[in-house]
């Protein structure tokens, strides 16, 4: 925008519209700055409070529930890891297969259309409703909270995301690859697993990692499925600890020591999150530039 000097012969309306325009432009800049400031403020605050609170104990001790000596969140870290692994064991194959189905079976259009729509619909289900579904399906019949139920709820969230991103990435693979493979006499299965999928590996993995990052940060689905545990355990048959639930519990406690623990947990969670997201994006940008 060129800043102009005053011209004598301008009507009041023109002066008004120019003033308005300048003011609105300034407001837009201010709003953008405000958004940045607010978000930065949250992140910075999390980091500073967290840094003061985190200690080696956090990574090595178990929570004691004690007001003055709250311990650590070792079981939460391990627990979240196990939950993600269990959820992935079921969710990744299911999701990738669904993605393959949506992308490589255009003859089934009458069915893949609705399936795709349902995937998008499922992605919009509030996570607490997923937790309640998990409760009704996996906790009530089995008689109690368990790691299986928690993993199941997380898988439910994960599957539509993985399916849609896999489909999108597979669609980007050029036709020519498929034609070339079939022309050489390969079966459809061979074409998909030896040619199509490998050429989209980077981006499919990126999609999976993003889904994993998402479920690692979820709290609501675990409230009524995995429950809460103070023990260090990898046995999914009983109530199962997780980092997010631990942080939530600690934050509800009135004692400053417990709240400190919540902050430490928050720092670890957000840091892992940011590192993971940055790594994912880095891998994504590299894999797009060099298609294998």
């Amino acid at each position: 925008m060129i800043i102009t000097t005053a011209l004598i012969h301008r009507t009041p309306y023109q002066r008004f519209t120019r003033a308005t325009s300048a003011v609105m432009a300034c407001i837009c800049v201010a709003f953008a700055a405000m958004i940045l400031a607010i978000l930065a403020m949250v992140v910075v605050y999390l980091f500073t409070r967290g840094f003061n609170a985190v200690s080696l104990d956090f990574f090595t001790k178990l929570p004691t529930g004690d007001q003055t000596n709250p311990g650590g969140m070792l079981n939460g870290l391990v627990g979240t890891g196990v939950l993600i692994a269990l959820a992935s064991a079921f969710g990744i194959p299911f999701g990738v297969l669904a993605g393959i189905y949506l992308s490589e079976y255009p003859d089934d259009r009458w069915f893949t259309g609705p399936v795709r729509f349902i995937c998008d619909v499922l992605a919009g289900v509030p996570s607490i409703v997923v937790g309640i579904l998990g409760y009704e399906l996996l906790v009530v019949p089995l008689g109690g909270y368990s790691g299986w139920a928690g993993a199941g709820a997380l898988a439910f969230i994960m599957i539509p995301i993985v399916a849609r991103t896999t489909e999108e990435m597979l669609r980007l693979v050029p036709r020519a690859y498929r034609e070339g493979s079939l022309a050489l006499g390969a079966t459809k299965a061979q074409t998909i697993f030896r040619v199509v999928l490998p050429s989209a590996t980077g981006s499919v993995i990126t999609g999976i990692l993003l889904a994993l990052a998402r479920i690692a940060g979820e709290t609501a689905p675990l409230l009524f499925t995995a429950g809460y545990s103070r023990l260090l355990t990898t046995n999914p048959n009983e109530p199962f600890p997780s980092l997010t639930i631990q942080i939530y519990q600690a934050s509800q406690n009135a004692s400053p020591a417990q709240q400190n623990l919540a902050w430490a947990g928050m720092l670890v969670l957000v840091t892992c999150f940011l590192i993971l997201s940055a790594a994912i994006r880095f891998v994504a940008s590299r894999s797009i530039r060099t298609p294998s």
């Binding site: 060129i2 102009t4 000097t5 011209l7 009507t11 309306y13 023109q14 008004f16 519209t17 120019r18």
Partner: protein, 309 residues
């Protein structure tokens, strides 16, 4: 007045197309014997003198371009172009792709300012007022110069709102003034009869040719000093193109038009004066009839007869 007057009026339309291009006599001159001195100078980046058939009287000049150069970051797109556009005429800019005709056109209303890294030198004046001088009000400038783009781009509002937009942003609110201006502009654009019953319907529902005429009406509603047309027919079918060309001849009675076209026959049909550009420089400029029938430079003759470019 100048001899530009007699250019189109003297010739019945049906004959003008046939007469303007001379038959090519191949026996007279072998192609390699024709020296493109000006083109060679341009390619070698030497100084050259464009061939200008007659100087436009300063009293008649609406757009005065003097030594105008433009750079897109590092590459130079226009080299010291000097051109005078006379009032009440249609002037065409022709030349092969990349010759800078669209760049020159967009420089007049400073739309090139929107591109990062654009640098200019030299001067331009519209109706005596500077375009690139210090302290120039760009918004005012654009209000005095109208533009029609290559692809019709009506706003997603009603036909009426499209036409009167220019008046609304000036604060004109009186319903009767707006309606009168709308009717007058649509009549001038030869669109009134087709849309007078549906002024409140969306402009997007019009055909391509109608949309372009709407854009023309939108551009002339406030009587601009100069109307810039950037290849206005290239996105239209032949019938719509013919109608727009007729329209241009009509409105040239009231407005000064500067039109960029890659279609030489169109330039021949529609314009009073033609400027031939090459690689960002002016090569020849004169009355259309002269450019197409008795050009001074062999380059021009060969370009308009399709032998090069």
């Amino acid at each position: 007045m100048t001899s530009l007057d007699t250019n189109k009026a003297s010739m019945p339309p049906s004959q003008s197309n046939q007469v303007l291009l001379r038959p090519i006599d191949m026996t007279e001159r072998a192609p390699q014997a024709r020296r493109y001195e000006v083109i060679e100078a341009i390619r070698a980046n030497r100084e050259h003198t464009p061939s200008i058939h007659q100087i436009v009287d300063p009293k008649d000049s609406v757009l005065s371009i003097r030594g105008f150069s433009l750079w897109y970051s590092k590459s130079q797109a226009l080299h010291k172009v000097s051109l005078e556009i006379a009032r009440g005429r249609v002037t065409a800019l022709i030349g092969p792709s990349g010759c800078g005709k669209s760049t020159l056109l967009r420089s007049v209303n400073r739309l090139n300012d929107l591109i990062d890294g654009v640098r200019v030198d030299g001067s331009m004046n519209v109706s005596g007022q500077s375009v690139y001088g210090p302290g120039v009000d760009v918004i005012d400038l654009r209000k005095r110069v109208g533009m029609v783009f290559q692809k019709p781009n009506p706003f997603p509002t009603s036909i009426f709102e499209n036409v009167v937009y220019r008046l609304r942003i000036d604060g004109v609110r009186s319903r009767s003034t707006l309606r009168d201006a709308c009717e007058s502009a649509l009549r001038s654009a030869a669109l009134w009869d087709e849309v007078k019953d549906r002024l409140d319907q969306s402009a997007m529902g019009l055909s391509g040719g109608q949309q372009q005429r709407l854009c023309i009406a939108r551009a002339i509603v406030a009587d601009p000093a100069l109307l810039l047309l950037d290849e206005p027919c290239s996105a239209l079918d032949p019938i719509a193109t013919l109608r727009i060309e007729e329209l241009i001849r009509e409105i040239s009675r009231r407005y000064t038009v500067l039109i960029v076209t890659h279609n030489m026959q169109q330039a021949a049909r529609v314009s009073d004066a033609t400027a031939f550009m090459y690689l960002g420089r002016l090569v020849e400029y004169g009355p259309t009839r002269a450019i197409f029938q008795v050009p001074k430079l062999p380059e021009t003759e060969d370009y308009v007869s399709g032998r090069f470019g």
